[in-house]
Symmetry: C2
Subunit: 175 residues, 2 copies
DNA sequence: GTCTATACCCGGATAGAC
DNA sequence: GTCTATCCGGGTATAGAC
């Protein structure tokens, strides 16, 4: 049995909260054990009494992010269909760019995540597309592509991204 | 006038070729000035006689990547339409995963690129979609999302990605 | 165009005292 | 659960000799 994400102590949760604030305020390079300790008012080695290594802290951040995006989706999906999901997704990415990047780039440390969070975040889209997994994967790829390319400043300055989102969502709604 | 990408000397081109081989063989973390010098059989400081800094070398790699993807597109687009472009795009990403990541993640150092390469790579898709820029952006986001999520192992093990690609391409072809 | 020597920065992580 | 001291690794980049 994989050990995977035991509950966190109160102090561990404080550390994760602080890590999140640090990440969101200053970006991924700032999320070092030393800088995190500094924000907590302690020394870096003390953190290792609460987490085995840095990856555990990052995994906790990713789990929190998935939970939040799942909550946003669960509201938006029923009311707003595919368009509502798209808007909620884009909003999350734009409001939490550094957290979004941490959640979506590179391999996922699945063994360290809170069990079920990944599936829970994916479910509203799958439901909205009536269980069509292939279409859901394609739609997710579209949404992630739009979000990350926007965050990275890849579209031309004048581009009407709201319109590009609409076009993509319409394509997957009808298809 | 921005200076942007002067022609490279022969030695500089050798350095870029070696950097590319290093990147593709061992990934982005291996692409350090020291490791690059090691492959070249020289010492790291010597590289600075040919490039001002590491960013210039990365920009040269990105320019090369854009040129290659443009060439692949220019062939594929006329024959194969949107489906042909999609196949060419996926193939490039899977065959050069580390280069693809370097080209597509994070902000683009546009001032350092060979002028015009970015537009040239984008043009075949825009042409295929008859100049509809919003649809082209959405389709590009879909393709990038599929490619990067596949490279990062984000889809479930059993997922039929060829089918997801087909669904997405069909959606943008009809839409 | 290459070298040596080096400055300077940063990172994750461990040992052992308290 | 915190500390100090430390290890060990890495990185980009510069100065100045040859």
């Amino acid at each position: 049995m994989a050990s995977s994400a035991p509950e966190l102590s109160r102090r561990a949760r404080e550390i994760v909260d602080t890590a999140r604030a640090l990440l969101e305020d200053e970006g991924p390079d700032a999320l070092s054990m030393r800088r995190l300790a500094e924000r907590l008012g302690i020394r870096a080695p003390s953190i290792y009494k609460h987490f085995a290594d840095k990856r555990e802290i990052e995994a906790a951040l990713i789990s929190v992010g998935f939970e939040e995006i799942a909550e946003a989706f669960e509201g938006a999906g029923r009311r707003g269909g595919l368009l509502g999901l798209g808007r909620a997704y884009r909003r999350f990415a734009l409001e939490h760019p550094h957290l979004y990047r941490l959640m979506t780039s590179g391999p996922l440390p699945r063994e360290l995540l809170t069990p079920g969070v990944e599936d829970r975040a994916a479910l509203p889209l799958l439901d909205t597309l009536e269980g069509d997994a292939d279409r859901a994967r394609a739609a997710w790829a579209f949404a992630h592509g739009m979000a990350i390319l926007e965050l990275d400043g890849r579209f031309p300055p004048g581009a009407d991204l709201a319109e590009a989102w609409r076009r993509g969502i319409a394509a997957f709604a009808d298809g």
